[in-house]
Amino acid sequence: MVACCLQYFASHTTVLSVDTTQLLKGVLDLAVLAVLREDDGYGYDILRRLRTAGLTEIGDASVYGTLRRLFAAGYLTTYVVPSEEGPHRKYYALNPAGRTQLKQGGDVWNGFASTMNTLLRESA
């Protein structure tokens, strides 16, 4: 999952400014899985949680696309909850495979992040 970012950095040697949008691409799956760890959520609710957590640049299409893909990959289950006002809400929930993926992805991320932190401390 993080391999993309490594490739990204490796192949773009001239990148000087790292923007959040680019970084986010690699870890969006992990971020979405993480906000579903405790509670199930519907699309816009998940977007709101991500933004509240500090990922303010995330767009709705990113969340929707990621949810669809995680669902197709067998990491999420869904159910529809009728809403009193407005359209029904489709809730997404982690299944055991999703939890495993979150755990593994989290481990990879932690390893990657600590490597990056070490590198950045050395270069500072």
Binding site: C4, E38, G59, S62, Y64, G74, Y75
Partner: protein, 335 residues
């Protein structure tokens, strides 16, 4: 609004027309419903009036969607297997659903089962009340009504409370399943406990009603009770002679009532089942059972390997009341 959503979704789809059909369909399948959901939310928050104002132009939305493609590898084999198993089970259920429904005059079996939900809520309330009554300290035997502290009135009040609570819960969860995973998990576990309790309650009640309950009790006790065939007891003294009017007590000082005649004494004896009638039982207790011939009784029995208890002061058999006289005074329960 719906037209606007359909148009927006179509424009997003058009912008993604170069994608493989399968991937595109997977991506777009849910888009109109999702857009409707988001539009309602943004509107509630006081966002823009049109979808484009809320979400940006369809082309930008499509570009963002495209960017999310292909970050995850395929599902793990177990996840894929589990997913297929779930969808197979769903397919099978839906076939069964449509096939069994018409047998009872419904389009789908699920329709009929949905009608039964309120009945389940009531049943669940009753079962929960029964369960709590059973777990209550000082609970008596199990019946068909919950009882607290032996009070039927309290039990009925509790029953009403549980049934109303269960109906409330049922209506609430039917309208909107709890979003919190832990709440749903707790509800599921509680339901499982209630169902298991209900099944065991049902089996118990069935056993009792058919009489096998009592049968089972006798059956169960017979292998461990060598005294089932005992009609009467003859107590022999150290001299090998029958002691008339003897009484038996256990290690706790409680009178032992053994044999058919001794037990019959309980309801047919002179005191007619008064408290403490057990103390009035003397052995031999059957008027019409003659003493057995005892040619084999050793004159002086040997001590048991672990030693015999020295009899403490108690009702002395040497006083020799005849079998017909009942002892007047009840000996103290503590030896």
């Amino acid at each position: 609004m719906n037209v606007e959503i359909a148009q927006y979704a179509a424009q997003v789809g058009a912008a993604l027309s170069d994608l493989p059909e399968q991937a595109r369909d997977d991506l777009l399948e849910d888009l109109p419903a999702h857009l409707a959901e988001v539009a309602a939310e943004v509107e509630a928050e006081g966002g823009g009036a049109t979808l484009t104002e809320r979400l940006g132009p369809p082309s930008a939305y499509a570009a963002e969607l495209r960017a999310t493609l292909g970050h995850t590898g395929g599902p793990s084999r177990t996840a894929a297997w589990a997913g297929r198993a779930v969808s197979r089970a769903r397919t099978r259920w839906s076939v069964l659903d449509r096939r069994l429904g018409p047998l009872i005059g419904y389009e789908r079996l699920g329709e009929f089962l949905a009608l039964l939900r309120p009945a389940w809520w009531v049943l669940r309330g009753w079962l929960a009340a029964m369960l709590v009554a059973q777990l209550w300290p000082d609970s008596g035997g199990i019946g068909l009504l919950p009882r607290f502290e032996g009070s039927t009135v309290l039990g009925l009040l509790a029953l009403a409370g549980f049934v109303v609570g269960s109906i409330w819960l049922g209506r609430r969860t039917a309208a909107a399943p709890p979003a919190r995973r832990r709440t749903r998990l707790a509800l599921g576990v509680a339901t499982a406990v209630v169902v298991v309790f209900g099944v065991s309650l049902w089996v118990t009640a069935d056993d009792r009603l058919t009489g096998t309950y009592w049968h089972d009790v006798t059956q169960a006790s017979s292998p461990s009770s060598p005294y089932e065939q005992v009609a009467d007891i003859f107590v022999l003294g150290p001299d090998g002679q029958i002691i008339p009017g003897a009484r038996l007590v256990d290690q706790g000082g409680n009178p032992i009532v053994l044999g058919y005649c001794a037990q019959r004494f309980g309801w047919e004896g002179p005191s007619g089942g008064d408290r403490g009638w057990e103390w009035r039982v003397v052995y031999p207790s059957c008027p019409d059972v003659s003493a057995p011939a005892l040619p084999w009784v050793p004159a002086s029995p040997e001590a048991l390997p672990w030693g015999t208890l020295s009899p403490s002061a108690g009702p002395s058999p040497s006083a020799g009341p005849s079998a017909s006289t009942t002892p007047a005074a009840s000996p103290s329960a503590t030896p």
